[in-house]
Symmetry: C2
Subunit: 273 residues, 2 copies
């Protein structure tokens, strides 16, 4: 099955654009969890069990697992096995290297760990992305306009009157012969979402920055979706994972995920219904 | 000790600009090694023992270790412990993410593994690099002009008549308040090395692309070094690691490392002597 098909299928089945960022920081675990690798797995299990029917996918930021040292890869592997297969999984590692190296990353993320999708930096160009898009069942989300302050430093530089990130989008649409490239676009830039969606009308957009980062959920749905009101993956991490630090954290996480999905559904109804 | 001081010290002591890329691919190990995680450690040990007096540092490309799956981090950790402390170690992971995530990568690479330096993508701007340059004993090598074909796709785009990579260099020199930023510049672009060095006269330059990639060693020394003929880290990986696939591979690796160092010394003598 192609990545696009899998995404569409789970978004329809779960009526959800919500992607949950499992960026588990062991220092922030509820007090009754051990601050160990196994504590992270147990916490992730509880979050996944409490939320998997509400989400279309999970995004694991690799940094939080690598910070566990030797155990990090095992924790990621065990976490991935807990996620129902019908959901999409994104290895958010923002990789980017020369071709023979990118092949090794693809081996690690797609074959060893089994992610459906990854995030990649555009700076090194086509041959750094190509190993991630050889197989139409996998998807590479290329960084376009990120949610952070530093996005102004280079992404907004203008070339011939247009920002660099538009040039990136324009170029990667040409690479998208297998229809398995997506874009990362922060919800912290609501005014730019509409023109970005116009440049890439059918690509999946991975949209971080709602929740803790304060991005605009309404704009993320309205302009992040394609014409059918689909193919936006709106990511929330910390606001769900750490909704409560008490024993009822999983219920609190479910409540926050439900709230976010409901808002998204309401906006889908309003703009695409 | 600052990173710059450590680099200068080992480059003088070993009279070497050679950085060895320990990008060990288990499929390419000599036939008498098992193609396992432990086989990679044993191979790396032999290479390090055969070459550490000839090099100023080792660069480990993280992709090759991540491709080992769960064992990858342990293999990297064990490999790092085999490298004499006086040499610099570079974790070539080309990371780049928002601040709270970059902090996790810094934790993983600097504290868990103990690398002296890392490589980072510039695309996400200052807050994605800052966690890697908080401590002057560590160094972040920012990608400027990479050695691969894809470097033309974005790095060479022109803004106000100048290529994007020059803008990157110009910007990161302003971030370099602790003197612990370096640049990655491929040896496959010999004509651009001189103007790049002029833009960043005192930064360490990490120069991949000689050896298998066919870059220009003479230009790498002549224009990659600072005014004293130092602070170029010229990386060779595959041409040393796989100089022979026979039982004498370590001797062949030493011979190739010696040859490269001698050429570098000759050019240092010629241009800075």
């Amino acid at each position: 099955m192609t990545f696009q098909k899998k995404l569409q299928s789970v978004q329809r089945k779960h009526r959800s654009l919500l992607c949950i960022g499992l960026d588990t920081d062991r220092r922030l675990l509820p007090a009754h969890f051990p601050r160990t690798a196994d504590g992270v797995v147990a916490f992730n299990r509880a979050i996944i069990e409490a939320t998997s029917d509400l989400a279309c996918g999970y995004k694991l930021n690799l940094a939080f697992y690598e910070a566990l040292g030797r155990d990090g890869w095992r924790v990621m592997d065990e976490t991935l096995r807990l996620i129902p297969r019908s959901l999409v999984t994104i290895g958010d590692g923002k990789r980017g290297d020369i071709c023979n190296t990118a092949e090794q990353y693809a081996q690690a993320l797609y074959n060893e760990l089994g992610f459906d999708a990854v995030t990649v930096h555009p700076y090194m160009g086509f041959d750094s992305v190509e190993p991630f898009i050889r197989d139409a069942s996998r998807c590479a989300f290329v960084l376009a306009l990120t949610s952070n302050e530093g996005s102004k430093d280079f992404q907004r530089l203008t070339l011939g009157g247009k920002p660099l990130y538009e040039k990136v989008i324009h170029t990667v649409t040409k690479w998208n012969t297998k229809k398995n490239i997506g874009l990362v676009v922060g919800a912290t830039h609501p005014d730019e979402l509409e023109p970005i969606r116009a440049l890439a009308p059918t690509m999946p957009l991975l949209i971080p920055g709602i929740g803790k980062q304060g991005g605009d959920l309404k704009a993320a749905v309205r302009y992040g979706c394609d014409k059918k009101g689909e193919f936006a993956l709106i990511n929330a991490g910390r606001s769900i994972l750490y909704a409560s630090s008490a024993r009822n954290f999983a219920r609190a996480a479910r409540k926050e995920a439900t709230r976010l999905r409901s808002h998204m559904q309401r906006y889908q109804e309003q703009f695409f219904g």
